[in-house]
Amino acid sequence: MIVSDEVSRREGWTNEVFQDLQVKAELGRYRIRGFSTFQRIAHFDDIIFIPRYISGKGVELRPADVSTETVLGTRYAKNAISISTPVYITGMSYGALSRSAKTALAKGAAKVGTATCTGDGGMLTEERKYSTTMIYQVNASRYGVTPQDMISGDAVEVVVGQGAKPATGGLLMGQKVSAIIAKKRELPPGIDQRSPTRHPDWLGPDDLGIFIEMLREVTDWRVPVQVKIPACRVKDDVKLAAKAGADGIVIDGMQAGTGASSEVVLDHSGIPTLPGIVLAREALEELGLLKKVYLVASGGIRNGIDAAKAIALGADAVAIGQAAIIALNCNRELPGITDFVREVGVPAGYCTKCHTGKCPVGITTQDPRLEKRLAIDEAAVRVASLLSSMTLEMKLITCALGKRNVHDLTVDDLSALNVEASMMAKVPMVGSGGTLLKSAGKGK
C-alpha cells in the first residue's frame, strides 16, 4: 500500500492515538489497564558501567568472590533484615494476584534466602508459612490488616503510594472481587474496589512520626519499619519520612508495575526511577542519614544489571514486581493450555490485561479454572532461578569492576549514554568527562 507523505508524517497523531480516541468516544471515561507505563523515558539501559584496566588494581576476581549479603534496618530495629541478595520481591496484593501466584513468589524467594512483601489485601497464611523474610505492608485501605499478622512479620512497610499510580489508591475491578477476596477485604463481592489514597489515621509528617512509633510499639521495636514512597517530590518526601523515624525508604519510580491503574496516572505522573534513586540518595546525604536509613529502589528493574545500576546510584537493595511476575509465566503462551488471542484479544507478549481478572496463565486472576494453570512449585523454581540469575549478573558486573562486594558499586562506576540520562542520573555523559550539572559524579 502506498502511504502518502501527509499520512506518514503525523507525529503525535499515530494509529494508537486514533484508536484511543475512538475507544474513549464510546467509553465515556478514562481508560484502565495493568502492567506499567510504556512511555519512552530514560531508564537503566541509558547508563552503563565503566570498568578500569591499567588504571585499576589489576586483581583477577571471579563472581564467586563477590558478596551480595544485604542487611537492612540497623537504625532502630532489634532484628535487622538479613538477605542473601539485595533483590527481593515487592508487595503485590492477594486479590490483584491469585493465591497460587503469591504462594509461588514466597516459595521462590525463600529458596534463595530473600524477602517477599505482602500487599494491599492482607497476608496469606501460605505467604507467612513459606517466606523466610516477610515484609508486612500497611496500606491506606488497611484491607485484611490484623495485629497478629503484623507482629508475625519480619519488617513493616508503610505504603504512602505506588510509583505506577502516584496519588491514587489501588484499584481492583469487580471481576477480581470474588467472594473470597470480598470476605478478606470486607467488601461487597463483585464491586469495583477503589482504595483510598490517604491513610485513615495520619495525614502529615508529624502524624507519620507518631504512627511509625506506634508500629514499633506494636512490634516491640523488633523489626524495621520502612516507608514506601512513589517518586514524585522525592527530596521533600524522603527527608520527611526519614525524619519521621523510618528505618528505610523504598523509592518507587514511575516505571513500576501495577495490576490496574488509570492510564492517565500510569503514563503521566511521577518521575522515573533513575532520578528517583538519585534524589532519594541526595536527600539522605543532606540529612547525614545515608546508610543509616536504608534505601530500596523499585520501578522497572528487569535484571541483575538494572539492580546493580540502582545500587551504584545509591540503593541498598532493589525490589522487583513485574520481573517476578514474568518468571511466573506472564505473557507466555502455554501450548495446549492458553490461547492469548482468543482469551484476551492480544498475542502473548502484548498482554496488559491484569485488571480484567482473566489472566490466561493464572497469575492475576481469581478464577479457579485459570488459577489451575499456574503450577505453584514449578513457578517457585522459576522465580528462584530468576533471582539467582539476577544475583549472578550483579556479581559478574561487580567483579568486572574489580570489587568484592556489590554494595561497593558507586556512581563513579557509571556513565550515561545520552544527555537525558546523564542529567537524570547525575553521572557523566560518556566521552564528555562531565555532565551539564554541577553535582554530578558525587560518590556514595
Binding site: 488497611r142 490484623t146 489515621d201 495520619w202 506506634m214 506494636v218 521495636w221 482468543r342
Partner: protein
Amino acid sequence: MTKRLAGNVPKALSAPVSQGYSIDARKLTTRLLNASIKSGVSKGRHITILNPDARHNLAVGIVKRCSLSFAGSVGYYCCAFCDGISATIEGNSGWGLGDNLMSGSIVIRQDAGASVGASMRGGQILVWGNAGARAGISMKGGTLVIAGNSGFLTGFMMQRGRIIVMGGVGDAAGDSMYEGIVYVGGEIGSLGVDAKTESATRSEEVELRAFLKALKFRDDILPRRFKKIVSAKRLYQYDSLEPLERERLVI
C-alpha cells in the same frame, strides 16, 4: 458543641482479671510503659495507668483479653491494633483511638480526637463526649457509639459495621461508603459523595434503643428518631471493561 451527656458509664467488659494494680506513666518511657502493660496483662491483671498525660501510642498491639483503665487523657493511637482489650479512658483522646480494633471494648468518658475507630474490624467503641473528624473512617466491622456530635467525614469509605451518633454529624457524612450504616440522632451537616439517607425501620429503632439502653443511656436523652446514612451504591461499578475487552473475554 453539644452539652455533655450525663450517663452511667458502663464498666468495661470484664476479662478474667485477678487483683489489679496501677502504673505511674510519668515514671516510665513509652517503651517501658507499654512493655509493663503487656507483661501485666499477660498475667491477667487489671491495670490502671496513672498520669497518662496525653502520651501517644499507649497500650498498642495487645492481642489478648485484658482490662485496662487510663486515669486521664491519652494521645494518638491509644489502644490501636488490639484484639480482645477492655479499656476505659477517663479523659480525652488524640487521633486514632481504637485504630484497627479487632475485638473488645473501649470506653472514653470525654471527647475523642480525629479518626476514632479508624479501620476497626470488630468490637465496640463508646465515646461519651464528641468525636473529631473522620470518625469510623474505613471502618470494617463492629460498633462505634458517639454520645455527642461527630465531625467532618464521619464514616468516610466505611465498609461494614455501624456508627451510632446521638448528636449531629458534620459535612460529607458517609462519603464513598461501601456498606455499613451511620445512624444519626441530630442534624446532618451534609451528605458525602454517594451517600443517601433513609429512615430507620421500626424494628431497627427498637433494636437500637434496646442496645443503647443496655449501654446505660437514659431514655430521656435518646433521640426521638434516628436518620440512617447508607451507600447509594452508585460508585459500585464503573463499567470496568472496555467494549473490546468485553467481546474478547469469552472464557
